[in-house]
């Protein structure tokens, strides 16, 4: 249905229960035979006006849609006032901002009530100011350590140092004093991203990038001042720093973010560092025995043309058979290796699964058509998620992924609210042993300790339905849901040879565009009038080969009235194996929504900034916007407690140690 809508006037497309202003026009006014010619003529010209208007809107909107057409009683159409910024192109993350020409807005201003609501209850963030990349995560003497790129002076990037925090469970954190500041010539312009390695004797080395006083990128070594201090409060920089400088052929600003080291079969330590040569993204390889002197390998770990600079490279083994994490040094026949890089050009994290050859320090992807960094290659997350880094948690035998979740609002707002950026909820990462072709991520088990009261629901939802799910407060939620399309609906579509369509979350118009078998899911952070809402949904499309493909999307295009925030539609197809029901999990925490499809095969993080659907006015809805399909939904919704992340005090540390 969606694909045939291309020429219909907007009013016909948007006839769905989720429209806030309840506008309805008779879509058949110009197609049904009308006895009264005057009315027919009016309807036809009305329809033509719409087509012209629609075309004009498309021309100014770069593909985003304004669902705000309202029909007045005299037949003219006006836009519901709302300034509207064109959507973000997903491929290049090219944030082209343009204001719609046709709106008669009231000036919108952020107030402190709206802004303070945006702070999260259980996601890691410093008390104030700017944060970016996760750094050197590790588990030591009973504590999970988290370091991060931090600006102590402002809510925007700059003056970067290492923030530090500890937790017993990856959820309840206490902030600690800064671990490292820019006090040497070799990191004067920034103490940038780095990773930790455990040596055989249990001690820790940290390699990190310094931006020197001349803005050259170099690698430096640091280590804890006192290994008997479980909080690892103080760090010492190796006096012989830098230990690595840009090698010949590599530009001084293309050499950063060293990885955790792994042991080679020759008994040396090996690291990799992302870089580029012209537009080819590469990963350099170095061997060392003492982390002070290095030999650069002739070969690269890997390279992919036309991908640009590789930031925050990560390299680690995953088990082919077991659902557990592996120490970074593990290798063997039951193991695949992941190469991941953050693409500077697009701000997207990509990974690929492949085979590592220890003898010459190279890696080749299983599927070169989706090699690291190619736009179609796999992503940890199809939303706002960058500079991610994993570490091996030897405490519980899992590999854990951290990701930087930046803001999608304006710097004015960040400065006004006094902070910018979050970390995603830490996720476990394993190879999907069922498909073998992708990773599976899932919020760490410990997040369940935040669950308070819950409500369970089982319902059948017909086409074009919207159900308010009464759970009380709806800004801090954990939702686990299972969906099934009724067999009769599926059979009907599968039997209809003409019912094929092309679909993509980004390009198919969002959650208001109705298909035969979708969209259906939840609308979170929704105002009761639905004027603001964030739908997270499945869309099942029947392709030309008569096969069904399931898509998992998060649509923030109507998440807020604000005209200075990015409101993309994110998502991707998600593998669904025979016999599987469709499952999704959603963590809602004020201005962040994290969605996990099919047990974490496809993950989407969104940042949203509602202006009305906040505090008590934020609600949860279940919807089925499909035209033909009835779905059954079985789900549980938990209220989530705050993680009470504490500023540094000995008291707070003691309190956490007792847990």
């Amino acid at each position: 249905m969606a694909s045939s809508d291309a020429l219909l006037p907007i009013s016909a497309r948007e006839e769905d229960p989720l429209l806030s202003d309840g506008s309805r026009s008779d879509p058949n006014a110009e197609t049904h035979g009308r006895r009264r010619p005057v009315k027919g003529l009016l309807a036809v010209s009305f329809g033509l006006f719409f087509i012209a208007f629609y075309v004009a809107l498309i021309a100014t909107h770069d593909g985003s849609r304004s669902n705000d057409v309202k029909i007045e009683s005299d037949g003219t159409a006006t836009t519901v006032s709302r300034a509207h910024l064109a959507g973000v192109s997903e491929k290049s993350n090219d944030q082209l901002w343009k204001l719609s020409g046709d709106r008669n807005t009231v000036a919108f201003s952020w107030n402190n009530s709206m802004l303070s609501w945006q702070r999260t209850a259980f996601h890691f963030q410093p008390e104030q100011n700017w944060m970016n990349d996760p750094n050197g995560p590790l588990f030591y003497k009973g504590w999970y350590h988290f370091f991060y790129q931090y600006n102590p002076n402002a809510a925007v990037w700059g003056d970067i140092v290492w923030g530090h925090a500890v937790s017993k469970d990856l959820i309840h954190w206490v902030h600690l004093p800064l671990a490292m500041v820019a006090d040497q010539w070799y990191d004067a312009n920034g103490v940038w991203t780095g990773s930790a390695t455990f040596l055989e004797d249990g001690s820790i080395v940290m390699l990190y990038t310094g931006s020197t006083d001349k803005s050259v990128q170099v690698q430096n070594l640091a280590y804890p001042e006192d290994l008997n201090d479980p909080l690892l409060l103080k760090w010492v920089k190796f006096p012989g720093n830098p230990v690595l400088v840009p090698p010949p052929g590599i530009l001084p600003k293309d050499f950063r973010d060293p990885t955790t080291a792994w042991k080679t079969s020759a008994g040396k330590w090996r690291i990799t560092i992302g870089s580029k040569i012209n537009r080819t993204g590469i990963s350099l390889v170095y061997d060392t025995t003492d982390f002070k002197t290095y030999e650069k390998l002739e070969t690269l770990l890997h390279k992919v043309p036309n991908t640009g600079m590789w930031e925050c490279v990560d390299f680690y083994p995953v088990s082919k058979t077991l659902v557990k994490g592996l120490d970074t040094s593990v290798n063997g026949p039951d193991v695949k290796h992941i190469v991941k890089a953050s693409m500077d050009d697009t701000r997207i994290d990509h990974y690929a699964i492949g085979t590592y050859f220890d003898s010459n320090g190279t890696w080749t992807p299983d599927d070169p058509t989706i090699d690291v960094g190619i736009s179609t290659s796999l992503r940890y997350d199809y939303g706002k998620f960058y500079a991610s880094k994993t570490f091996y948690d030897q405490n519980k035998g899992r590999r854990i992924l951290w990701g930087w979740i930046g803001e999608s609002d304006s710097e004015s707002a960040d400065v006004q609210k006094g902070w910018s950026s979050l970390q995603g909820i830490p996720r476990t990462v394993v190879l999907d042993t069922k498909t073998g072709k992708n990773l599976v991520q899932w919020p760490v088990e410990e997040v369940k300790s935040l669950r308070l009261s819950s409500k369970k629901f089982d319902m059948e939802v017909g086409p074009g339905s919207l159900v308010h799910i009464d759970v009380g407060s709806a800004a801090q939620l954990d939702i686990e849901a299972e969906f099934e399309i009724k067999k009769e609906s599926l059979d009907k579509i599968l039997g209809d040879a003409s019912a094929t369509e092309e679909f993509s979350c980004q390009k198919s118009g969002g959650s208001t565009v109705r298909g035969a078998l979708g969209p259906f899911g939840f609308s979170v952070l929704a105002h009761e009038s639905l004027s603001e809402q964030t739908p997270v949904y499945f869309y099942v499309a029947k392709g030309k080969d008569s096969k069904l493909t399931t898509f998992f999307c998060a649509d923030s295009s109507r998440s807020s009235f604000a005209n200075d925030v990015v409101k993309p539609i994110y998502g991707s197809s998600v593998p669904v194996l025979k016999g599987e029901k469709l499952t999704m999990r959603i963590l809602v925490d004020h201005s962040i929504v994290e969605a996990f499809g099919q047990g974490g095969r496809t993950c989407i993080t969104s940042r949203v900034y509602p202006t009305k659907a906040i505090y008590g006015a934020a609600k949860l809805f279940l919807f089925n916007n499909a035209i033909d399909a009835t779905i059954t939904a079985s789900f549980k919704v938990w209220q989530m407690n705050s993680a009470f992340i504490q500023p540094y005090s000995e008291e707070a540390v003691r309190a956490l140690s007792r847990t």
């Binding site: 300034a83 910024l85 944030q95 901002w97 343009k98 204001l99 709106r103 008669n104 807005t105 000036a107 919108f108 201003s109 402002a154 925007v156 990037w157 700059g158 312009n189 920034g190 940038w192 931006s211 803005s215 600003k253 640009g308 600079m309 500077d344 050009d345 701000r347 304006s410 710097e411 004015s412 400065v415 006004q416 005209n563 200075d564």
Partner: protein, 154 residues
């Protein structure tokens, strides 16, 4: 003679760079108006344009100030514009300058934001009543060009 040839050669970098931006003639006129452009690398050219953003932002703040007196009924949108343009001049420009040298993607973010702040400010006025339309349009154009140059550094 040598100096003249060098001048022409250097000028070509400006020409080449501007050809890769969405507004070649604007780019040329902005850069050539600054004598530093003849010997600047891409970072230098970017910094020249960030200076232009700052100058334009400052000029616009001046116009906003004057408009309080001539159009007092527009106080609310003028207040919003004041906030937005202060962000451009004090925050975005500063971030762009430090990031251009070290980590250009953050400069790109700041420049994109400058365009957003300008657009949002303009959008706050009832239709046809903005006293600064020409200036906000210029800001958007300069930001587009500057962003293209910063992206060359990625």
């Amino acid at each position: 003679m040598m100096a003249m040839m060098m001048g022409v050669a250097m000028g070509d970098i400006v020409d080449k760079t501007c050809k890769q931006t969405p507004d070649y003639s604007l780019c040329l006129s902005l850069l050539r108006s600054d004598p530093r452009s003849s010997s600047a690398d891409t970072v230098g050219l970017g910094l020249i344009l960030v200076d232009k953003i700052k100058a334009l932002g400052t000029e616009t703040l001046g116009q906003i100030n004057m408009a309080y007196k001539t159009k007092p009924m527009l106080k609310k949108p003028l207040d919003e514009c004041n906030l937005r343009y202060k962000t451009i001049v004090d925050v975005d420009v500063h971030t762009a300058i430090i990031a251009i040298r070290g980590n250009p993607k953050f400069a790109e973010g700041a420049i994109v934001d400058a365009g957003v702040e300008a657009s949002v400010c303009e959008g706050g006025f009832p239709k046809g009543q903005s006293p600064i339309t020409g200036l906000t349009q210029k800001m958007n154009k300069i930001c587009d060009v500057t962003r293209a140059i910063v992206r060359m550094l990625l």
